[in-house]
């Protein structure tokens, strides 16, 4: 992180070099060396506090039993990378199934949530629509109360959703906040554009699909990420509504394997023969849980602000 520190030479360089500082306005005083150093140290520390544990997790998951034993547990420096833990986990046991369940629930859940949310947001985005104020109130009020865990639990049970993947999707399928963000964005699209599409003979659905959504790619990407991460990270509804062990998604299996330190079901030749450490298995499960999120979220990063700040409610 030494690049935080400005040098006069860098200052002269213009913007095209993205690592370089843009020219400093003439009225601004030169930063002090000590101040810059302090800034660099604090920022580096913050980033390291996040990356260092993740590094250990990844490296340990890629280590053989011998390396782990030599290190006395967690491995800091990789010594002979092996994918044996991942081979073991992905060879069709409990974790493979859990990962597939998580992928399945995340894909279908996100698709469902996005469909419902985008439709609702567009339906509410044209002011003057009949009843749109009432519908908006119905949405907004839910941000101010929660019916409570027990009544919700009893209801979901009564609906017969126990031991069904629908119980992981339906009760928390939509976030009113996300709908408001989408709506705020859709409202910013000019009415002239929509009117001209209508004159060309497009109905509301076609306008949404062909005009509004292509203009809203950024916010759609952010909200899709929010929903997908929500489904991928969820474990509580599964613990409430699923009784069968083999239906559990990845997060719940991670609780069993890592937090409660239980041995994985239905493995493990390699553990028994002593090549594979139980610790590497734990770490590999953690990497499987974090990898999709860590890979995807930086792509959407520059749009995050849109997803957070257009949520203001306009009549």
């Amino acid at each position: 992180m030494t690049a935080v520190i400005d040098t006069p030479a860098d200052k002269a360089a213009a913007a095209p070099r993205p690592w370089a500082a843009p020219p400093r306005p003439s009225w601004e005083e030169e930063p002090s060396k000590a101040g810059l150093a302090a800034k660099g140290i604090v920022l580096s520390f913050a980033c390291l506090a996040i990356l260092f544990p993740l590094w250990i997790v990844v490296v340990t998951s890629l280590s053989s039993r011998k390396t782990i034993d030599e290190a006395g547990g967690l491995v800091l420096v990789p010594k002979g990378i092996t994918f044996i833990a991942y081979e073991e986990l992905l060879s069709g046991g409990q974790v493979t199934r859990a990962a597939l369940v998580s992928i399945f629930v995340t894909l279908f859940g996100t698709l469902f949530s996005m469909t419902v949310s985008v439709l609702c947001a567009y339906g509410l985005s044209r002011s003057g629509t009949l009843g749109h104020r009432w519908i908006l109130m119905t949405l907004l009020a839910t941000m101010f109360f929660s019916a409570g865990l027990i009544p919700t639990y009893l209801l979901v049970q009564s609906l017969g959703l126990t031991d069904s993947y629908l119980a992981l999707i339906l009760p928390s399928a939509i976030s009113v906040f996300n709908i408001l963000v989408l709506r705020g964005f859709f409202m910013g699209i000019s009415q002239e554009l929509i009117d001209s599409a209508r004159i060309d003979g497009a109905g509301d659905l076609r306008i949404l699909l062909r005009v509004v959504m292509p203009l809203s790619r950024a916010v759609l990407a952010v909200i899709t990420l929010f929903y997908a991460v929500g489904y991928w990270s969820a474990w509580f509804n599964a613990s409430l509504y699923l009784n069968q062990q083999d239906m559990m998604p990845l997060q719940n299996v991670m609780i069993q394997l890592v937090q409660r330190q239980e041995a994985p079901v239905g493995l493990s030749q390699a553990i028994r023969t002593g090549q594979l450490s139980g610790l590497a298995i734990q770490m590999a499960v953690m990497v499987m849980a974090l990898l999709p999120v860590a890979v995807l979220s930086p792509f959407v990063q520059r749009h995050f602000k849109k997803g957070m700040l257009t949520g203001a409610v306009k009549g």
């Binding site: 800034k39 544990p53 009949l130 119905t138 027990i150 009564s158 999120v293």
Partner: protein, 344 residues
């Protein structure tokens, strides 16, 4: 809680003063004028597709957010889950016991323990978590190199997208009995240390986890507020001889003040919710003495012990107090002249 009062006040609360009334009308003056002349039937025919589009979301909310409100009657019942597999049938056949559940709750030391833990956690988190995103945002904002800034932001935002299960697993590998810290201590001839199961430091552990996961994410709102400050202000102040720190004190901080005030008010309105998933996952590790908060109290008594009436009573008390807090907090926000309660 009646339908008519809450939605209206909430909409007012959420309406940013500046943009609200004006924007909708100004954007489409023509259509607005036409609307008034149309009959209801006409408007319905014109808007029916739009209304239909909102229907799936509205139905989901009615079923999963509104309908369960009725289920709170079990708080006044001696609810027997074994009457029927169907909760609704059980509710209809369970005897009413008046306020017995509430009576029992107020005499229950475990309940008061949960209340105390909730409040302690709220204050510890408020004091130790809240300032960090502000400071981080000031730091990031002062980094002028675009690439450094983008990389730092990418790293700081990342843990927000991790599940609580993963965050706690990471902490366990670092600070648990077999974690990194214990490993280091043992190598140097000390005893291992299991921070994860120590009830005395539990509030601080929870705060550390929250900071690790969400402090980076929290800077977004502040960065946006900082970006909206006109550079001319800084230049003018510098011309008048204000140094770096005076500019921060007189320009930057006043720009952040409304956002800080608003987030504080919102946090207070949400005071009784202190990280349900996070605490539930670690409740067994530290024991209920330190690890029981109101939400987990409800979970334990209802889901675990099947004592649904009692748990629902606790949940109802929490819910009612929370609504009061939220409305009061919004009132305060309005009195301070702040806008955009929903700008999270």
């Amino acid at each position: 809680m009646s339908h008519s009062t809450v939605p209206r006040s909430s909409a007012e609360a959420g309406t940013p003063v500046k943009t609200a009334a004006a924007s909708g009308d100004a954007a489409r003056p023509r259509e607005k004028r036409v609307t008034r002349k149309l009959s209801l039937r006409h408007r319905f025919r014109r808007d029916r597709v739009l209304i239909l589009m909102t229907l799936p979301a509205v139905v989901l909310l009615l079923i999963f957010n509104y309908l369960p409100i009725l289920g709170n009657v079990v708080a006044f019942q001696d609810y027997d889950p074994y009457i029927s597999d169907n909760g609704i049938v059980s509710i209809l056949h369970s005897p009413f016991v008046g306020l017995e559940n509430f009576q029992r709750m107020f005499d229950d030391p475990d309940f008061w323990n949960a209340v105390e833990n909730t409040l302690v956690l709220f204050f510890v988190q408020l004091l130790l978590f809240f300032p960090i995103p502000v400071l981080l945002a000031l730091l990031i904002n002062s980094v002028v190199r675009p690439r450094v800034r983008a990389v730092a932001q990418a790293v700081l935002y990342l843990p927000h997208f991790f599940s609580w299960v993963l965050v706690i697993a990471v902490f366990q590998q670092m600070f648990g009995g077999a974690g990194m810290l214990s490993q280091l201590l043992r190598e140097n001839g000390h005893d291992g240390l299991n921070i994860m199961t120590n009830p005395d430091t539990f509030p601080f552990l929870l705060t550390a986890q929250s900071v690790w996961k969400d402090a980076g994410w929290g800077i977004i709102v502040f960065l946006a507020a900082l970006a909206s400050v006109s550079p001319d202000l800084y230049e003018a102040a510098a011309m008048d001889g204000a140094g770096r720190w005076r500019r921060m004190w007189h320009i930057t901080l006043p720009a952040l003040r409304p956002v800080i005030a608003l987030l504080l008010v919102l946090r207070v309105g949400d005071a009784l919710t202190v990280g349900f998933e996070q605490i539930l996952l670690q409740r067994d590790g530290v024991g209920p003495g330190a690890g029981e908060v109101l939400d987990t109290f409800v979970w334990w008594n209802g889901v675990r012990n099947q004592d649904f009436g009692y748990a629902a009573a606790a949940g109802l008390v929490k819910g009612v107090v929370s609504i009061g807090l939220v409305l009061a907090a919004n009132k305060v926000a309005h009195l301070m002249g702040e806008q955009g309660v929903y700008q999270k």
